[in-house]
């Protein structure tokens, strides 16, 4: 069973880039797998490495003090763009357990929740306050995120955040979502029967269309 999880504590790396899209979080060359392995390598690749594959020493996640970063302090609309869940898998494999931002791309947010990568929503000023604190500190900022109490604590600040009850439970307890939905299997079947009774043109559209196109193609080939 999945372990109970409610507290994330550790170094928060500042990454104040607006609209940091999932193409940047996980570039195309790392999307050729049929499993989830090895995606930690690709995380923020163009930010971490030069064109010829050398480490960029200035990038925050490459600085020795930020080794072991667990939290990203990110800009607004983090994870916008492509639906690729590889971005979330990669961040987790890289050791990131939580992201803090004032807004997220919606698909990224769902993907994060489905994988128990905590996506904390704070007000823009609150994120800015943490970024300022991070910038002024002599050592990397350390944060404590308590999901049970829904707070983010830094040495100087304590901010409350909100998240849906469902997402909170998913994060804390883990949840076999598919298993839970399969509990509704009879309701789904009954729904589908009613739905197709009312709108028969919605039933098996993909299957029927492909069969029709294949039949046309073979008639053409035969003719």
């Amino acid at each position: 069973m999945t372990e109970l999880k409610h507290r994330i504590e550790g170094i928060a790396a500042p990454l104040p880039i607006a609209n940091l899209d999932t193409d940047q979080i996980m570039p195309k060359q790392f999307l050729h797998g049929i499993d989830k392995a090895g995606l930690d390598r690709g995380v923020l690749w163009d930010h971490r490495f030069t064109g010829d594959g050398r480490l960029k020493p200035d990038f925050v996640l490459n600085q020795p003090a930020y080794a072991g970063t667990r939290i990203l302090l990110a800009g607004p609309n983090f994870g916008c763009g492509s639906s690729r869940e590889h971005a979330v898998w990669g961040l987790q494999q890289f050791g990131i357990q939580a992201v803090i931002a004032s807004a997220y791309g919606e698909i990224f947010y769902s993907n994060a929740m489905n994988n128990r990568l905590l996506a904390v929503l704070l007000a823009e000023e609150e994120v800015q306050a943490l970024l300022d604190e991070s910038r002024l500190g002599a050592t990397p900022l350390r944060l404590v995120i308590d999901v049970a109490r829904m707070t983010v604590e830094s040495p100087a600040h304590r901010f409350a955040f909100t998240m849906g009850a469902r997402h909170r439970t998913m994060f804390m307890q883990g949840l076999d979502m598919i298993g839970a939905s399969l509990g509704h299997q009879r309701a789904i079947e009954a729904f589908a029967a009613r739905h197709w009774e009312a709108q028969p043109w919605l039933k098996d559209v993909a299957g029927r269309t492909k069969a029709r196109l294949d039949a046309q193609a073979s008639t053409r080939a035969a003719g």
């Binding site: 193409d23 609309n77 639906s83 469902r166 043109w201 993909a206 269309t209």
Partner: protein, 475 residues
């Protein structure tokens, strides 16, 4: 009871059960899959010993990794990258195992998921359509609620034909007036995104309406709804009108006779009630639309082609600075005249037959500028065949364009169509993100006619000066 929006009606009509205050279990009429966001979903399914109960409501295509180079002499399309080839063969194996229809690499109708689904009548008004691809918002053009999902959700849909869905807020975007000659729905959506920002519609399902929307062809509406996601929209809808119904019926030979009458009666109700309340509203005047071009690294960093690169100031200072550093532009530089190395015409946004007709109109009798590489990647096998039958392919080839095989291609450069660092591309795609078309490559988003004109001129140019009638506003 107060009136409902079209979005609420679609959510309500697909709600199997309400899970809590925010979430419903939403039934999915059509689930599309590709080779790169589905493998881990199938693997998860197999690990748990779960099946696919409704395979005929699902369909797959090999779209993202497939090379677009002209076919081998054998007629076969060969994927030389072993990892990409494995993704394709893995998709085939998964589809065979679960009896899911597949447009395989060698299928003459293979293409981009968002192009093949509607062109063969698989998208119908009132549907909920899901796909592990963010541009699934495209289907709102036909009054179907479509949106992108992640791979965990792909697995959930495969196993249950439903999604745990958090409902969105309602936004209405009204556009009245006439699109000026030389502008298209691509220019309109770029203008809208530039005004409301890349997160302006976040959390919302957007309904487009108004006389300018009514006047758009269905293909132009696909482009509009496709890119609504670049403003963060969780869905985009246009109430189906006669044009949408005609489009669907022409492609759905099963909807005939009594079924047709019932469908028409059903579709007539697919509109927001007069007293429906929207959480947010925007209004735009179509006459303000000009040919739009992006100058930065986010789709909202766009302006009319007659504009000059903005200065980094105000709230956007940091992101503007960062974008200009990447795109190699400086404040005050005019967009017109900016030299491009590459032109790419393709993608789920702009690779339909009307797009290619608009390109051919600009290109006919002209030549691609020396030293510039220009590619056309039709959206599907059907689009390609039609363009060849209409003589469009000939015009493009004679002008010096590469006429390629269908696929997503250089929109995201997951196959071998990729730009070199520093190359500047005029592109009909949807995202100008850093590195999207290749590390260090610079993307300028624009309409097909604008990209075609750039290919001929060798630099970004205002297509309105070329005295070519717009196919869309002529419609």
């Amino acid at each position: 009871m107060t009136g409902r929006t079209l979005y609420r009606k679609l959510v309500d009509s697909h709600t199997v059960t309400r899970l809590d205050e925010q979430n419903v279990l939403l039934f999915c009429d059509l689930h599309l899959m590709n080779e790169y966001t589905s493998p881990q979903a199938f693997a998860g399914l197999h690990e748990q010993g779960r099946g696919v109960p409704m395979p005929a409501q699902n369909v797959s295509t090999v779209s993202h990794v497939i090379p677009t180079a002209p076919a081998e002499p054998t007629g076969h399309r060969i994927i030389r990258n072993p990892a990409a080839a494995l993704q394709a063969s893995n998709l085939r194996r998964n589809c065979v195992r679960h009896a899911i229809p597949l447009f395989d690499t060698d299928d003459a109708l293979q293409g981009i998921e968002h192009i093949i689904a509607p062109e063969h009548g698989m998208i119908r008004p009132g549907m909920v359509v899901l796909c592990g691809d963010s541009h699934t918002t495209t289907y709102g053009a036909l009054g179907a609620l479509g949106f992108g999902i992640g791979t965990s959700e792909v697995e959930h849909v495969l196993a249950t034909q439903t999604l745990v869905y958090r409902t969105a807020q309602d936004m209405r975007i009204r556009v009245d007036g006439r699109l000026p000659l030389g502008t298209t729905s691509k220019d309109l959506i770029l203008m809208i995104i530039s005004r409301i920002s890349a997160q302006g519609a976040r959390g919302h399902a957007v309904e487009f309406c108004g006389s300018a929307i009514d006047a758009l062809s269905i293909e132009a509406r696909f482009t509009l709804c496709n890119m609504a996601v670049e403003a963060g929209a969780r869905g985009a809808l246009i109430a189906p009108d006669q044009a949408a119904i005609d489009y669907v019926l022409a492609r759905a030979p099963d909807i005939v006779g009594e079924l047709r009458e019932r469908a028409l009666a059903h579709w007539a109700r697919l509109a927001s009630d007069d007293d429906a309340v929207f959480h947010a509203e925007h209004r735009f005047d179509a006459s303000e639309v000009a040919p739009y071009v992006t100058w930065g690294t986010s789709p909202d960093q766009a302006m009319p082609v007659t504009g000059s690169v903005p200065a980094a100031e105000g709230a956007q200072r940091l992101s503007t600075e960062q974008a200009l550093r990447y795109t190699g532009l400086a404040a005050g530089m005019p967009l017109e005249g900016l030299k491009v190395d590459h032109v790419f015409i393709g993608s789920c946004t702009n690779a339909r037959i009307e797009d290619l007709r608009a390109v051919a109109k600009v290109v006919e009798g002209r030549r691609v500028a020396p030293g510039l590489r220009a590619m056309v990647v039709p959206g599907s096998g059907a689009v390609k065949a039609q363009a060849e039958a209409e003589g469009i392919a000939r015009i493009l080839i004679d002008a010096g364009f590469e006429w390629r095989q269908p696929g997503c291609s250089m929109c995201l450069a997951m196959n071998d169509d990729i730009l070199a660092p520093g190359q500047r591309c005029a592109s009909t795609t949807n995202r100008n993100f850093e590195g999207r078309q290749g590390r260090g490559a610079i993307t300028h988003l624009m309409s097909p006619a604008m990209a075609a004109a750039a290919a001929i001129a060798g630099h970004i140019t205002d297509v309105r000066k070329w005295n070519i009638a717009s196919s869309e506003s002529a419609a």
